[in-house]
């Protein structure tokens, strides 16, 4: 950790996070969040998903603006490639979550970051989704994340940032542990 007196600033308001932790310990119901996305099929394998509102801190919340994401498949799947494949969106979530965690933990531990770069790889055998082989799963066989971190800290301190970020990451947890997924459908009246 750095010893000079310049204040550490990774752009994370740790006091606000710690305050929220204290407040939510007293009011656990306000800690129950619900994230939402709505999507519309466009054409072929192309869909557009919009993120706008969510529930948390005991009430309805809104992003500063709605965000829209196009997902599709690449041309080698005879698709139009209007956006990343949905599985690639999972990698976006994982990289974003772990990097945010590194920044927050570094701020809390008073470590100045200069650069954090992640490369994420996921292995997938598409015999699974194509139904060629029953013993091959549809999803990722393995995910690898590599971080290059420039920070005022020792190699072990940086390794500890990355480890603590995984320990507290929602996306890492969701990818590494089973999650109950409940899908329903309603036939729209003609």
């Amino acid at each position: 950790m750095q010893s000079q007196s310049t204040p550490i600033d990774n752009g994370v308001n740790v006091e606000a996070l710690l305050g929220a932790r204290a407040a939510l310990t007293e009011a656990p119901q306000a800690a129950r969040f619900r994230w939402r996305a709505t999507s519309r099929w466009m054409n072929g394998t192309h869909s557009r998903t919009t993120i706008d509102d969510f529930h948390g801190l005991g009430g309805e919340q809104k992003h500063r603006q709605a965000f829209a994401f196009d997902t599709d498949h690449p041309e080698i799947f005879a698709s139009e490639d209007q956006g990343p494949t949905p599985v690639e969106m999972l990698l976006v979530g994982l990289a974003g979550c772990l990097s945010a965690g590194i920044a927050a933990v570094a701020q809390h531990r008073k470590i100045q970051l200069h650069a954090v770069a992640a490369s994420v790889e996921a292995d997938m055998d598409i015999q699974g989704i194509l139904g060629i082989a029953d013993d091959v799963r549809n999803g990722f066989g393995a995910v690898r994340v590599h971080f290059e971190v420039d920070a005022d800290a020792t190699a072990d301190e940086i390794a500890a940032l990355v480890a603590q970020s995984q320990k507290r990451s929602a996306v890492f947890d969701t990818l590494t542990n089973p999650t109950d997924v409940h899908v329903t459908v309603h036939k729209v009246a003609q």
Partner: protein, 448 residues
């Protein structure tokens, strides 16, 4: 409980005849305070009846000491068996002439206004202070996934387990990577059964470092004396699993590398059992990375401490750190339980058994709520829980200081309640009208 029943009266009732209860008994005797020690079996009951055969203490013999009695045998660096601990405590009880009531199970306790009513299988007791010293490991914590394990697979907790021969032949899934999980994995794998160990977050330590027992370092460097104010999250340190250690005559290290060399398969934390299949978390690498980093930080603090003392003659030169935890290239994430296992052992932690205390006194996990051993209601105390007052609180050698501090609090409480009683009697004799009580309230005892 029936208030019209007759009860024996005594100033203090201690529940539990283990090391904490006996140390408190000795402290009360020295102060001339009347008390009894209620023990469901005989002294050191859990050490006699609730431990697996091969268990030894995780602390060396020289650390096994209580106020007035220390290990005086020929093997100070060895580790006591359960039977030796029971013998040590029996000797302690006899020397102190502890007022024991053995074969006496406490069924319940309730506040009576100026004290406690304690119901037991051998009659009731009325007391002014109650000390809960029933230990930290009264009941096993078993995750909800246990209910989804197929009926053909036998299940055991660490309290049920005694020896490998008790298990069916065939594969064994051990869930939990504390001292218990690792010790059981090693001896069961050696019995010829294929063991898979489910590993979540854990605490890794070498048995010896620079020629000294790791417990020597923890004590000498002041870690075991850390107090509540020295840690930023008391709840977290109280829930820490026991470090991966074993006490053997060889003083060897027991870690995941040792187990895997012996043939044990490691998998991630058991996340769920679904359709008869065990699903293990994909976070094993990070759990091991966290434990390796934390172990190295601990050894760094030891090195810093030893250097700070100059050239210490009592430790060897700095030695290479234990190798990082090695894991297979491909992680095990799914195993069909019936196909791979004949039994599952839940080494997923222990909690105190405070179920006999009123639910309003307990927290969400069922443990008596307390601040450093002092409960919410005056006159109620607890001993021997993890990090009760300091990191060594749950160790045998940690009881002395906790008892010393809490007996002071308890004595002050008895004096205060005695003053309150005589004041109340005086009021009654002088027939002061009830309205006059208000004016006396300043001298009335206030709850702590």
């Amino acid at each position: 409980m029936n208030a019209s029943r007759r009860a024996n009266a005594v100033d203090v009732v201690i529940v539990g005849g283990g090391h904490c209860g006996l140390a408190m008994s000795r402290a009360l005797s020295q102060r001339g305070i009347g008390h009894v020690v209620l023990e469901r079996g005989e002294v050191a009951n859990a050490w006699r009846t609730e431990r697996w055969d091969s268990l030894r203490l995780l602390t060396p013999n020289w650390m096994t000491r209580l106020p007035g009695q220390a290990y005086d045998g020929a093997d100070p660096d060895g580790y006591m068996t359960s039977a030796e601990v029971a013998g040590f405590l029996s000797r302690y009880a006899a020397t102190a002439a502890a007022p024991l009531r053995t074969a006496t199970t406490v069924l319940g306790a309730r506040p009576t206004g100026d004290g406690w009513w304690v119901e037991t299988t051998q009659g009731d007791w009325q007391c002014r202070a109650l000390v809960v010293a029933t230990g930290a490991a009264g009941r096993p914590v078993v995750p909800a996934a246990a209910a989804d394990v197929p009926g053909e697979v036998a299940q055991f907790s660490a309290l049920d387990y005694r020896r490998p021969a008790q298990l069916p032949d065939g594969g064994v899934l051990i869930v939990g990577a504390s001292a218990t999980g690792l010790q059981l994995a090693q001896e069961i794998q050696r019995s010829g059964r294929a063991v898979t160990l489910a590993v979540g977050e854990h605490v890794r330590m070498p048995r010896l470092y620079r020629g000294r027992d790791i417990q020597w370092w923890l004590l000498a460097a002041g870690v075991l004396d850390q107090r509540l104010a020295d840690v930023d999250d008391v709840g977290r340190v109280r829930r820490l699993p026991s470090p991966q250690l074993v006490g053997t005559p060889e003083r060897g290290t027991l870690d995941l590398n040792v187990l895997q060399r012996g043939g044990v398969r490691v998998a991630g934390r058991l996340a769920q059992v679904r359709d008869g299949r065990a699903l293990f978390s994909g976070s094993l690498r990070n759990a091991c990375a966290l434990a390796d980093l934390k172990m190295n930080r601990l050894l760094d603090t030891f090195d810093d401490w030893a250097l700070g003392d100059g050239m210490r003659p009592d430790v060897d030169a700095v030695e290479p750190r234990p190798a990082p935890t090695r894991l297979p290239d491909t992680a095990t994430t799914v195993l069909d339980l019936k196909r791979h296992f004949r039994s599952v052992i839940w080494a997923t932690g222990m909690r105190p058994d405070h179920g006999w205390l009123d639910a309003s006194l307990r927290d969400r996990a069922g443990t008596l709520r307390h601040e450093g051993g002092v409960a919410d209601l005056p006159g109620l105390y607890v001993l021997g829980l993890p990090f009760l007052r300091r990191r060594k609180s749950s160790f045998i050698h940690g009881a002395g200081q906790d008892v010393d501090e809490l007996v002071g609090h308890l004595t002050a409480h008895l004096n205060q309640s005695a003053r309150a009683r005589s004041a109340a009697r005086g009021i009654a004799r002088r027939r002061i009208s009830p309205s006059a009580y208000a004016g006396l309230s300043r001298s009335w005892p206030q709850p702590d």
